[in-house]
């Protein structure tokens, strides 16, 4: 992962410059500084994105997604925040389902 934008503290002092390669160490340092997010170059993080391969049956997966779509159907789904919330809730649900199936 490569940092896309300089990271500054609240006084405007630069902590990390853009272009720096991100490793566990940099992330650890930023966390101790209380920095919770940073912009990274899109291309550079493709390699770490793990494909989500939950251990649940495809039919069940379809069911779960359908149900999640239903509960969001009376909301303003076109808003980017709602869209993100939907994605995260679906992921969370799938994780729970996979856990339940494995037990």
């Amino acid at each position: 992962m490569v940092l896309a934008k300089d990271i500054m503290n609240s006084y405007g002092r630069i902590i990390l410059r853009s272009g720096v390669e991100f490793t566990e160490r940099e992330i650890y340092i930023l966390k101790t500084w209380g920095i919770t997010e940073a912009e990274v170059e899109e291309e550079s993080c493709k390699s770490i994105e793990k494909p989500s391969a939950p251990n649940i049956a495809p039919e069940r997966l379809e069911q779960v997604e359908k149900e999640m779509k239903r509960i969001f159907s009376r909301s303003n789904f076109d808003h980017p925040v709602m869209n993100e919330l939907f994605r995260l809730c679906l992921q969370r649900r799938i994780k729970h389902e996979a856990k339940a199936e494995n037990n």
Binding site: E37, S73, R74, S75, N76, H79, L85, L88
Partner: protein, 281 residues
Amino acid sequence: MTTPEDFIKGDITISSLPDVFTRLDNAINDPRGSLSVIADLISKDAGLTARLLKIANSALFKFSNEIVTISQAVTVIGMQQLRDLILATSVIDMFQQNNLDKETVNSFWHHNIACGITARVIATYRREVNVERFYVSGILHDLGRLVIYMKAPELTKITQLRANTDKTTIYESEQKILGFDHAAVGGKLLSTWNLPDSLIQMVSYHHNPSASPNYPLEASIIHMADIISCAMQLGFSAEDYVPPLDPAAWEMLGLKKSVLTGIMNQVDQQFADAINIFVRE
């Protein structure tokens, strides 16, 4: 029932808050009041003491040392904050002593407690002072719904049916049928209890936070917390659809959407603990 007041007046079981809360509120507001007087007052109520100690030792605070006395809890949590937690506890207790279907009521509290936790987490992200007031507002946000259900169960059914026909949320169908919604009833109840205006507005405007005259930011926190807790399907309060987001409320929060993951993780961590403390299953 044509006004929010109609749901509340004349009912002595809900028209006033438990005595212990009133006495404690007076003691906290008394300039001559001392920590030991307040701690004494709480300690006289064994049930409340046990509950507060459980809260102080729960995932909510993550203190490194165990808190064993009320005066310790007052010191580390703070007096105002403790009062807010006592308010939440008292109201939940008050509404559990009724003849309603236990499962419905428990599920109702699950949703409200989840909303309280979420509101508190959002407030922490925003570095708000006294995050407990968001916790208590979240816990009380749908109280109006429970009041409507207690007073006019058939009305709850009618609004649900109407919402399904119109494909809208229940609060919108309440507005169509009654001219006001459960948020207004909840706000009215809180004002009958003489609770602070900020709390009343957070509850009254949780579906349209931008309309709150004095506390739009606070109401926006409850609004967002309600949406997140509905989406996470933690509990159920008559409504199983996620309510629409007021875009202005999100703008006001000044958060990035990347914080959602962190918020949801923290809510998941704290939820089971809070349910154990507050709800008698």
